[in-house]
Symmetry: C2
Subunit: 207 residues, 2 copies
């Protein structure tokens, strides 16, 4: 689930772990913080699976050349130092950084994860994530994703409603309020999805 997010970001540009975390945390809004304790293991898994590979230095202004793992210092020491200082003034590439790039295998995995219908409880987060990257999906798949989500929400709402109806008197004020608010939120989610679906259909006709 985190893999999807990482691959989606790396699809657009090469990034190192720290930057990846920053983009993840504000890409998904204030909720779901994404800690280093998940991020680095996830990057490790992806690297082991051949979905991403670590390149040494950021491409910044050019391809950066082959550049063996460590030990640069091939040219004049003064020149290297000057270049270093110059680079430091704009951004700060603080020596030890592992920049990751997506591989063809990673692209394939990305597509796969984006389509997988995870009908579980963490579905809410997963769907938000997928939505953030669904522009990479062909239109009809995108529509399918939205409609599967809608069906799931409708089912959830129905279940909640029958549940509440059968226990309403036995609930205290707070539980009842919680249940009602939950139902309202789900309704809002459904009509939001309806708007998204409508937009998607318009686009399909327009093309």
């Amino acid at each position: 689930m985190l893999e999807l997010a990482i691959l989606g970001l790396l699809k657009e540009q090469e990034l190192h772990g720290y930057e990846l975390k920053k983009r993840l945390t504000d890409a998904l809004g204030a909720f779901s913080s994404v800690s280093f304790g998940s991020l680095y293991p996830a990057l490790g898994r992806l690297e082991a699976a051949g979905a991403v590979r670590a390149v040494v230095q950021p491409a910044e202004g050019g391809p950066a050349g082959p550049a063996g793992p460590v030990v640069p210092m091939t040219g004049s020491i003064a020149g290297e130092a000057a270049a270093f200082r110059a680079r430091r003034s704009t951004t700060r590439p603080s020596r030890t950084r592992k920049v990751y790039a997506i591989t063809p295998r990673g692209e394939a995995l990305f597509e796969e994860l984006l389509e997988a219908d995870s009908a579980s409880a963490d579905d809410d987060r997963a769907f938000n994530l997928k939505l953030a990257f669904c522009r990479h999906l062909p239109p009809e798949r995108r529509l399918g994703l939205f409609e599967r989500r809608r069906a799931l929400l409708v089912e959830r709402l129905a279940k909640a409603r029958t549940n509440v109806r059968s226990r309403r008197e036995r609930m205290d004020l707070y539980t009842r309020s919680l249940a009602d608010h939950g139902a309202e939120t789900t309704e809002a989610d459904i009509s939001w999805l309806d708007r998204l679906i409508a937009i998607e259909r318009e686009r399909g006709e327009a093309s």
Copy 2:
């Protein structure tokens, strides 16, 4: 976090694991399923901490007496069997069941967990849970709980808004829609909390 839910339910009546799970899953609405893989370890932890204790058979119609750990069968065997059969016809107590009861230590732990302000990411679930049991809190503490929650949501909303404002053009249609919908949902949550707070204040005046 699960401990709170377990203790809250056991506060009202003794229950065994399976029943506990059923009540948890529909008490919290369709979301957050609560699996056995969390429930049984949690019960184990609580038992080890002395917050709950396992009793052999459900009390059903009476205090069930002292009853040493296992080996009931003190009265007539036929009588026991008849009682067993009769009980089976109404509900089904399928032999191997461990019924749990809350202890004074557990009551104390419950209060503690209900007050603890967990300002983390899983706060959403935690707050819903607390709300479901906040009737056990004295009114002013309840109000405090609501207001802390409200402050957190307001802060979250503000952060999301500034974030969106600074990146709106760089977002695609779907990300933008997601961000907007998230903001709307948070607004709805805040005004829901405002209603709860208003009710709480009315009650405070009325008493």
